[in-house]
């Protein structure tokens, strides 16, 4: 039996222990450097986590199994250790204006403690990384992808004015508790968190430790992301999973959950070769910024907003049961190559294969019939609406 294709974040393209530096092969062929350990490394192993290399760390890909963990998160509360991600504090004079040079968001008018999704762009509008940025008073707390964090810091330090400083908060772990019962679980441990609205953050205190918690996540479910001092991470994790409603969830289910939610994964669905408009992330390009420009790649991106792009990111509903994975080609009715799959797998919630990728814009309407070509086999598919599984974010005033 061969092991041909890995999928998603356990993909070898990102799992070689090299920091993702714009090389689509993720440093393929290079020697694997030694892997870092997460603050919760021992905790994962005790819990039966199967550790795999990812983003330069040994990380748990699964505990009891991806399918069960995925469904548990959709129904209860799943705890993810995402401490590999980079937590940055960017501060200094006119930090908001400085960040606006690198990203298309409205940082100047950013409300306090409201995380915003944004994109770090190169000068031609390609995506260096996607991230969450939150104003905390005069500073910005920014969470970037693990595989790209060192590159991001280098880019920021190079391109930000010298009076703006990027602190890498290496002493912080990051946990995510996701699922319809996440608020119920976390409220018992940290009273007050359930008062947060979706995409709202705030400082909390637990056992004398300062935490930063936001109501946000990467699964399409209600949930929280918790920045905790690494020394206290194991205690907090134990306190959370002491609740029978919460279980630890690995990277494998994190990938299948975000795919069902239609959320792009950096290094796969978005990268230097794609722009925010190609990727359908126009919501991250603020209205004032569209009028004024002044961000990296603005000429191209503003033109694309006006005129469209040759290709677009779309979802695919795939016929049959066989998963179609990253790298498969998208063909039109005549067999011409018109796109490429960037993420794909079997949806545990829908019990059928789903995929995400790029296709020629004139073929990007929902319902368009296409063929996917994978390892010499043609599989029927049609452009499908994303998210595949509806988002169930917490809305204030909505009944629980």
């Amino acid at each position: 039996m061969s092991r041909e294709v890995h999928n998603g974040p356990t993909d070898d393209t990102q799992a070689r222990g090299t920091h993702y530096a714009g090389d689509p092969d993720g440093g393929a062929g290079t020697e694997t450097p030694s892997l870092d350990k997460l603050p919760l490394d021992a905790w994962h192993r005790e819990r039966g986590g199967r550790m795999v290399p990812f983003a330069g760390y040994e990380m748990p890909v699964q505990y009891e199994g991806i399918m069960a963990e995925h469904l548990w998160t959709r129904e209860n509360a799943g705890l993810f250790d995402v401490s590999h991600m980079g937590q940055l504090l960017v501060h200094g004079r006119d930090v908001d204006a400085a960040l606006e040079r690198l990203m298309p968001g409205d940082f100047k008018a950013a409300a306090d403690m409201k995380p915003k999704y944004s994109l770090l762009l190169d000068e031609s509008g390609g995506i260096i990384d996607d991230l969450m940025a939150t104003r905390r008073g005069d500073d910005f707390y920014i969470v970037v992808n693990g595989a790209t964090k060192h590159g991001d810091i280098a880019v920021m330090e190079q391109r930000l004015p010298s009076e703006v400083v990027v602190d890498h908060m290496k002493e912080q772990a990051l946990l995510a508790l996701q699922g319809p019962r996440a608020a119920e679980v976390l409220e018992k441990i940290i009273p007050g968190v359930s008062d947060l609205g979706f995409m709202q953050g705030g400082p909390f205190n637990w056992n004398g430790r300062n935490l930063w918690i936001s109501r946000s996540g990467y699964t399409g479910e209600d949930g929280f992301e918790i920045s905790v001092p690494a020394v206290a991470a194991a205690d907090l994790t134990d306190a959370i999973v002491a609740d029978d409603l919460a279980k630890p969830i690995g990277l494998g289910a994190r990938d299948s959950l975000r795919l069902e939610a239609g959320l792009p994964l950096y290094g796969h669905d978005i990268d230097h070769e794609t722009t925010p408009v190609m990727a359908g992330l126009n919501f991250a390009i603020n209205k004032r910024r569209r009028a004024e420009g002044g961000f990296a790649g603005d000429l191209r991106i503003l033109a694309e907003l006006e005129q469209g792009t040759p290709q677009k990111r779309v979802g695919f509903d795939v016929d049959g049961r066989q998963p179609v994975r990253e790298g498969a080609l998208v063909l039109d009715a005549e067999g011409n190559e018109v796109g490429r799959i960037t993420s794909g797998g079997f949806s545990p919630s829908l019990q059928r294969p789903i995929a995400m990728g790029y296709v020629a814009s004139h073929l990007a309407d929902v319902g368009t019939e296409l063929k996917l070509s994978q390892r010499g086999k043609l599989i029927g598919a049609r452009v499908g609406a994303m998210p595949f599984v509806p988002h169930r974010y917490h809305r204030k005033g909505a009944t629980a």
Partner: protein, 123 residues
């Protein structure tokens, strides 16, 4: 009846000139939740080392190689219909296909069950 194993984690149960082929318990554990299985058509000729079936989990796709040369005489439609059978009973009901052996000599050099289990324990 003798059972052999390959380093690619297939098992081969030989009865007369017929070999039943599947993937080992270790292989299904490594793959995780299996969501797709494709078995070969009856009558197809496969050569030793050639891909003969497909097995995919949530996270990985693999080919199942024919560990011996011969003609496919039976395929297990049950695993195609219910791929999770490969997880629940990999070395029993989760078999993939049966081959009529061209050359039983090809079985020489394969591991027996004890040797395979010992080897897997070192992985």
């Amino acid at each position: 009846m003798t059972v052999y194993f390959t380093k690619e984690h297939e098992w081969i149960r030989v009865e007369g000139d017929t070999a039943t082929i599947g993937i080992s318990n270790h292989a299904q554990e490594q793959l995780g939740d299996i969501v797709f299985a494709e078995v070969p058509d009856v009558g197809r000729r496969v050569s030793k080392g050639q891909e003969a079936a497909v097995v995919e989990s949530v996270k990985a796709a693999s080919d199942v190689y024919a560990p011996v040369t011969g003609e496919v005489v039976e395929a297990n439609q049950a695993v195609a219909d219910e791929p999770a059978l490969v997880n629940s009973d990999p070395e029993g009901q989760g078999w993939f296909f049966k081959i009529r052996l061209d050359n039983p000599g090809e079985l020489e050099g394969l591991m027996d069950e004890a040797a395979y289990r010992d080897w897997v324990a070192t992985l």
